[in-house]
Symmetry: C2
Subunit: 401 residues, 2 copies
């Protein structure tokens, strides 16, 4: 080829991406806190195996045929009930569309709303997969800093004053990825009031909400919304199994026809086999009880990692105190580059994997922080891994002084 | 909402889309030749049920975890062998990436290559799902007419002279969707020569190649390609089951890293459960023998529909004579609008569903043709449906004179 055929959006230099982290995490010598992995031990593997069996036996050959784009009604009805339980908000089954994990829901929203150079607001930091998806549509990002109780509302309002054409705010209000932070009720109300004032959508991405270990639930944005401004995304990845690749999107009926058209262009329809297996699982098992079991296990892992961090980190290192979810967010002294540190020291010497902050900010400018996952590792690996990380950081920060 | 938040690409009026056809096809009173449905009776349902069982039992809990974006090596190796058998071209497993049906491969290619107003060439008519996918990237389409042996090469060359910046030519060379036409060897060679001369990629979308009922196989474009210009797309949807949602993309190594990055942003990774079930199926069963069984059945259906069309259509109606695949393409006299006819007469009175040509041309300007699927209907439905169609057309064309 004598010219570049690539879209301009991909003509920049390649950067560290999620796929590379998957690869690094797979090196058996490394203890990985990188990927957001659930603990395999909590998968209801037997029950899911049986559910696949029953779904296929019940439907017969028809389960292997093309079906519809939105997903089976019986499953969407069960998701409506699950949403009522955990989000205090009951959508109709018609408002729910199945997606290929929550990730595809993010991409569909990007495609529906974004032209090149449109304005959107994201948390700083935010879910790197959302940035991957939105990047394809080449929006102009505005970042709003996260505080211990969610977005800095003064900064959000100032941003909206400057960019009133903002199309949506993308937020992960519950046990945020990557920080573990949960948005307070007061801030949720403020966000909704601003959405009405500046006429934008709120994308509430909430795959972790089911996983609360301490403290009281805060009402969901969808529950507080009175005029169809919230588009809710969730998924079975963190509460059943990520390999099911089953998420969903809840939106007002006016948007659903377009979302279905987009989904059809993306991959025609979801895998009916997996969806019917989930439907059978949910019909036969108490998913609330299953989630309670998961929470008991993850509560301990979260507490253990926080205790290890408190014991092993240098004094100049700080970290968040999540009440649920998958992640703890660690801040090194400013000026320390966590990406370089990962590449030059952690992977090769300390043999510990984390996700550096750089790729988790829309600006790609903040480099002294990183994300740790506490659900995927064993308690022993948490102890050993955080000890190794602490040792390496003590050494590095001492040398750096 | 007081303003439109939608991307400009979706601010036009809604048109008939694939999802609506699915819905119409579902009306039990209608005989549907609309969707490209395989015959459920040819699915290896027992074997697939067992394969899901075995895959889950063998892997245990780990099958339900996140895996990698490209898909399991053992399956990609089997696809490499399948490609060698049916395409006379043997890629390495590294050149293969699993996708959510062939549809997602098309979307990934659009995202990788296309900026707004980039030039691409498609067949006229072409696969409507490809138009759905490419539309998102807002390219400028140039259409090249299909003849009985593939694209009009003089028209293609003239188009390339006028638009030498063309990024790729998208073609379905085998039993094309929607016309059933197969590109001749001479034209394949000409296409590759033009690709070298004008420096563009060829997207060879070939899900139907396995399904030849009459005549001799023509070498694939991938087999004839000597400099990595062909990106091959195929799928298990037509030879195993569409509900597996499993397709793949074969590309030169230089492109693979970008395709993986894009796939990761779209939906992180494929469903490992379905992929491992297919891997188990292929390890245990002779897929060539299975394909031969399918072909015997579809050969009869194709011949039956062609015979019914010959008997029942008015003289002014013409249709293609496919050697394989899923579809026959019917042309009414110019001036007859097949979309209007479908909406006003076929669905309500004749109770027959086809896909009107309008949505199968990038220009959306050709309205007097339609696509018929012959694999999904029973022989009785083919007889009855084509008779009804013929009757309605006799009536309509007589009145129209």
């Amino acid at each position: 080829m004598t010219r570049s055929h690539l879209s301009t959006r991909y003509q920049q230099t390649a950067e560290l991406n999620m796929d590379q982290i998957f690869a690094q995490a797979a090196d058996p010598e490394n203890i990985s806190f990188g990927m957001g992995l659930p603990d395999e031990a909590v998968f209801p593997s037997e029950a899911l195996a049986q559910a696949f069996n029953e779904a296929i036996a019940t439907a017969g050959a028809s389960i292997f045929q093309y079906h519809d784009t939105q997903g089976p009604l019986s499953l969407r009805e069960k998701i409506a009930a699950l949403t009522a339980t955990y989000f205090d908000y009951r959508p109709t089954a018609d408002q729910i569309m199945m997606t290929q994990g929550g990730q595809q829901a993010i991409d569909i929203i990007g495609r529906a709303f974004l032209d090149k150079d449109d304005h959107i607001i994201v948390e700083a930091p935010t879910y790197m997969g959302a940035l991957d998806a939105f990047d394809s549509y080449e929006p102009i990002y505005h970042e709003v800093s996260l505080e211990a109780d969610g977005m800095d509302m003064a900064q959000l309002e100032a941003t909206l004053q400057q960019y009133p054409e903002t199309k949506f705010v993308y937020t992960i209000p519950d046990f945020q990825n990557p920080t573990g932070v949960t948005m307070s009720l007061a801030k949720r109300k403020q966000l909704l009031a601003l959405a009405a004032q500046y006429d934008f959508y709120i994308i509430e991405d909430s795959p972790y909400r089911y996983l609360r270990y301490t403290g009281e639930a805060v009402p969901s944005l969808a529950a507080l919304d009175t005029d169809g401004r919230v588009i809710l995304i969730s998924s079975f990845s963190k509460i059943l199994s990520p390999a099911l690749r089953t998420g969903w999107l809840v939106a007002n009926p006016a948007l659903m026809a377009l979302f279905l058209k987009i989904k059809s262009g993306l991959d025609i329809q979801p895998s009916y086999i997996s969806l019917m297996a989930i439907d059978h699982y949910l019909a036969k098992h108490d998913i609330q009880a299953h989630i309670a079991t998961i929470n008991a296990k993850y509560r301990d892992k979260c507490a253990l990692m926080l205790a290890c961090l408190a014991a092993d980190m240098p004094d100049t290192v700080t970290f968040t105190q999540p009440n649920g979810g998958f992640f703890i967010w660690v801040s090194l002294p400013e000026g320390v580059n966590a990406t370089t540190l990962l590449a030059e020291q952690m992977l090769s010497q300390a043999k510990v994997v984390y996700v550096p902050s750089e790729m988790q900010y829309a600006s790609r400018q903040v480099t002294h922080q990183f994300r740790l996952n506490f659900t995927g590792a064993t308690p022993d690996d948490i102890r050993t891994g955080i000890a190794r990380l602490g040792q390496a950081l003590h050494q590095h920060l001492f040398v750096a002084q």
